[in-house]
Amino acid sequence: MIYNMYIFDRHCQCIYYHDWHRGHTAKTAFENNDPLASHPSGGGSTTTTTTMTDPRQGMNMSLEEEGKLVYGVVYSLRNLVKKLGRSQDGFIAYKTSHYKLHYYETLTGLKFVLNSDPGVESLQAALRQIYTQIYVELVVKNPLARASLQPGQINPETMGAEGFRNGVDRFVRSLTMFETL
């Protein structure tokens, strides 16, 4: 089961967010003016946040805050692993009782983070594939994407790379562990 995915750039900015199975209840709806708002892929998604079915209830955290926390965690763990291990060692994944976080970092400092259920094998290869086959092809090679590049707003969607979200969506749905728990 794949839960959600984040991409962070070098400046700690969350440039992409996508969720698939965010809890088994109704899909979380984010505010419309949120630049990172997930597109309504589920048929029955609503725009009102109901406190009872919100899987993040009790956490009272916006997506922006959550993105910062995720970045902080992977950044800290990456440094911890670098300090403890040898230089070429990288942090691959961590597991808790309910989810597993997979991590892939490119040489340019782009960080790909994917959450799945804890039984899944390493998905670092899949993240690498998302980078090389989708991000590079649809965002890096897109001249329009670079034209509107501003420090504060580096969002693949505002960069005119609408195909990117569709590409990621199709790729992740094609993974064997997408639905199975």
């Binding site: 956490m59 995720v70 440094n79 291990g85 060692d89 994944a93 309910h98 989810y99």
Partner: protein, 186 residues
């Protein structure tokens, strides 16, 4: 192969750390404290950023060359076990470490809770435990030249008395063979 064991108290302070195998970089005691504090904080956050409700904190961290297993007791003490990815039966080992901790630290009237653990019995029994689960690298491991060398040194610099060590018994055996061969020839 078990690299090291850390124990972190409920406030995030490092109360015990011990390295068993070489392979990871050596840190200063200050860096160990920072590491423990970082892990404590990350552990708390990882339960908050869960995509599904009710998650625990980080239980296993995976890297290319080692894994960090974390076990948190109900009282908030965390046991970290840094081991090889191939190390078997981690859960059992973790349980045994907790038992050893309960026997020689919790039941020790001189052990101040939440304070650094200074108990020789705990050290001894933990080492014994790590040995029984195969956590120590055998001396024949070619990667650990240092310890092999030092043990050989220790043997030769010994008293040279009756108990013959393997490294000492090897050189005398050569003339024996030679002389017996000569005897046969004559």
């Amino acid at each position: 192969m078990i690299f090291s064991i850390y124990i972190i108290n409920k406030a995030g302070g490092l109360v015990y750390n011990k390295d068993y195998s070489e392979g990871l970089s050596k840190l200063t005691s200050n860096e160990y404290l920072v590491l423990a504090g970082t892990f404590h904080g990350v552990h708390a956050i990882t339960s908050k950023i869960s995509p599904v409700p009710g998650s625990s904190g980080i239980e296993m961290l995976e890297t290319d060359s080692f894994r960090i297993h974390c076990f948190q007791t109900l009282t908030g003490t965390k046991f970290l076990l840094v081991a090889d990815p191939q190390q078997p039966s981690i859960d059992h080992t973790m349980k045994k470490i907790y038992e050893t901790y309960a026997d020689y630290c919790v039941k020790n009237p001189f052990q101040n809770p939440e304070m650094p653990i200074r108990s020789e019995q705990f050290d001894v029994h933990l080492l014994k435990l790590v040995k029984t689960v195969g956590g120590l690298v055998p001396a024949s491991n070619p990667y650990i030249v240092n310890s092999h060398y030092s043990s050989a040194n220790f043997n030769t610099s010994g008293t040279g008395g009756q108990p013959m060590t393997p490294s000492n018994s090897l050189p005398p055996s050569l003339p024996n063979i030679a002389s017996s061969g000569l005897g046969l020839g004559a």
